[in-house]
């Protein structure tokens, strides 16, 4: 099974090396962040300079104009209501995908027969680019939040399902045998041995899906124009209100970054044991 290759991924945020002593630690964690900030600000200043002098295209607004537009639009409430719609669908879709993915992945991992039964269908569906289903979804479910949520669920299901499956599957045989010797029943073994051991892998799946879900929600909103940030961005594009469009994109970026940071923080907090066991269910 060549598709089971584990994928290493760069951690979403720079991690601290394990427990450095107190005083150098402050210096080490502070300076890189300052440097990152310096670079980002410098880049923006450079862009500002370039757009003010060399690149005077209508389609490439100056960063300061984008910032002004962002402030104006945030006060006007247009972007914020878009963020509300987008994140509502996002949370709903990801939530359903987590429940469904963990449950089905756990069943597939615990029972060889179930995996053997569903294997071919799952392996075929997984590499299918999820966005190709959007036109179907529009025909069947209409334009609206149902389509958005359904597409998020479909796309973010796979990484969670596969990571749960590999996690449950990869539990050390010896610990299962040991549990059996102690007289635990099958479902007890599942709950107390297999699921906790799979938790790190499940967390990775959820982190991967949290990024995919954002891609899908923005894509569906752009394609169906059904409200939310994606729709806001296209609307501004069509109206050639370029600064406002860039402001919307910046907000999407901030959301994506916030989600990535939050997820890796949660991952470290909730499944603090064995955090190096990272695999990726791909998409």
């Amino acid at each position: 099974m060549s598709t089971t290759t584990p994928v290493r991924e760069a951690p979403a945020t720079d991690r601290e090396p394990a427990a450095p002593p107190a005083s150098p630690r402050r210096r080490r964690s502070f300076r890189p962040q300052l440097r990152g900030l310096v670079f980002a600000v410098g880049l923006l200043l450079l862009l500002e300079l370039l757009t003010a002098t060399v690149i005077t295209s209508l389609y490439v607004p100056r960063p300061s104009e984008v910032a002004a537009a962002l402030g104006r639009e945030l006060r006007a409430g247009d972007i914020l209501s878009g963020v509300g719609t987008t994140m509502g669908a996002y949370a709903q879709g990801l939530g359903i995908a987590i429940v469904a993915g963990v449950l089905s992945g756990a069943v597939l991992g615990a029972s060889r027969t179930a995996w053997q039964l569903f294997r071919v269908v799952i392996e075929f569906l997984r590499p299918l680019p999820s966005v190709a289903l959007i036109p179907f979804s529009i025909l069947l479910l209409g334009v609206g939040s149902t389509t958005t949520v359904a597409m998020i669920v479909y796309a973010s299901l796979w990484p969670i399902l596969f990571n749960t499956y590999y996690g449950v599957r990869g539990v050390n045989e010896v610990s299962i045998d040991a549990a059996r010797t102690f007289g635990l029943r099958r479902w007890q073994i599942f709950l107390r041995i297999q699921l906790p051991a799979a938790a790190t892998s499940i967390a990775t799946g959820i982190r991967v899906s949290s990024a995919i879900a954002l891609i899908l929600v923005i894509t569906v909103e752009i394609l169906t124009r059904s409200g939310g940030l994606g729709y806001y961005i296209v609307r501004m594009q069509v109206a050639i209100r370029t600064e406002d469009m860039y402001a919307g994109i910046v907000v999407v970026g901030v959301l994506g970054y916030a989600i990535a940071v939050l997820m890796s923080w949660l991952e470290r907090r909730v499944v603090f044991w064995n955090a190096d066991n990272r695999t990726d269910g791909s998409r």
Partner: protein, 254 residues
């Protein structure tokens, strides 16, 4: 004897569900009069009519071409910049947060910018695919280059290798497992961006075919596009795994 029967049954079990689904699809399509469920045979007829071979030339080939160009472009840029950034700790410290931010930005959100800048042509589609691939590869390459053991660099430098030679001979080989992981993450993203960029108004491509079929309520046609994309996704995935196993088997012992 019984044992052997069980083994054959076990081998056949994975195919039970697909066959059942296909049979039910055909049966359901014939009995129900919902236009949303054309029988499998209609889909196969549409597949032959639409995709053999004119359709493949008109829609599949341009899609694949854009996919390949965009993917290679994004990958090459990502590896080149990633090595340049990652081989200096200081540069990496300065740039990583910005790169992380750009990686977290979903590539689709940039699509409207690409449309404004490049219009609705190949340039827009290729650039958006490349953008989607660039950042996963870039961030992974930086991490890979940062993970090089300092002794190896020091030894290489001691032997008088120039900075560029050190990057090529020491940093790049050590970073390859991480780069390969980034390339793998980029694969489905590129496929998604290929389809999305064609769904947004176009002249050809699988995504364009899909929107055409949708606007004409040609449900069988839509199913053929899904089949093609499913096969394409599987083939690309398998091809990558094959190359990875062939070329990078040494990396697993690193």
């Amino acid at each position: 004897m019984e044992n052997r029967l069980a083994r054959v049954g076990w081998r056949l079990l994975p195919w039970l569900l697909p066959v059942t689904v296909l049979v039910l699809w055909e049966y359901g399509g014939r009995t129900s009069d919902s236009i949303y469920l054309p029988p499998l045979s209609d889909v196969l007829v549409a597949l032959r009519e639409d995709w053999v071979w004119e359709g493949a030339q008109d829609d599949l080939l341009p899609s694949l071409q854009r996919f390949a160009i965009g993917y290679v472009l994004g990958a090459v840029l990502g590896i080149a910049f990633g090595l340049a950034i990652g081989s200096s700790r200081r540069v990496a410290e300065y740039t990583t947060p910005t790169m992380e931010f750009l990686r977290a930005l979903p590539a689709v959100a940039v699509l409207p910018i690409a449309v404004l800048l490049f219009g609705l042509g190949n340039g827009m589609r290729i650039s958006i695919i490349a953008f989607g691939v660039l950042f996963p590869v870039l961030v992974n390459t930086i991490a890979g280059a940062r993970s090089v053991r300092q002794e190896r660099v020091d030894v290489a430098r001691m032997y008088g290798l120039s900075r560029l030679q050190v990057i090529r001979r020491v940093v790049l080989p050590s970073a390859i497992p991480m780069i390969s992981a980034g390339l793998r993450v980029g694969l489905p993203i590129a496929l998604i961006m290929m389809v999305v960029s064609e769904l947004v108004g176009g002249q050809n491509g699988i995504g364009f075919y899909l929107t055409q079929a949708q606007s004409m309520f040609d449900i069988a046609g839509m199913f053929t596009a899904l089949l093609i994309l499913g096969i394409l996704g599987n083939v690309i995935n398998a091809a990558y795994s094959w190359v990875e196993n062939r070329r990078l088997h040494w990396a697993s012992h690193l």
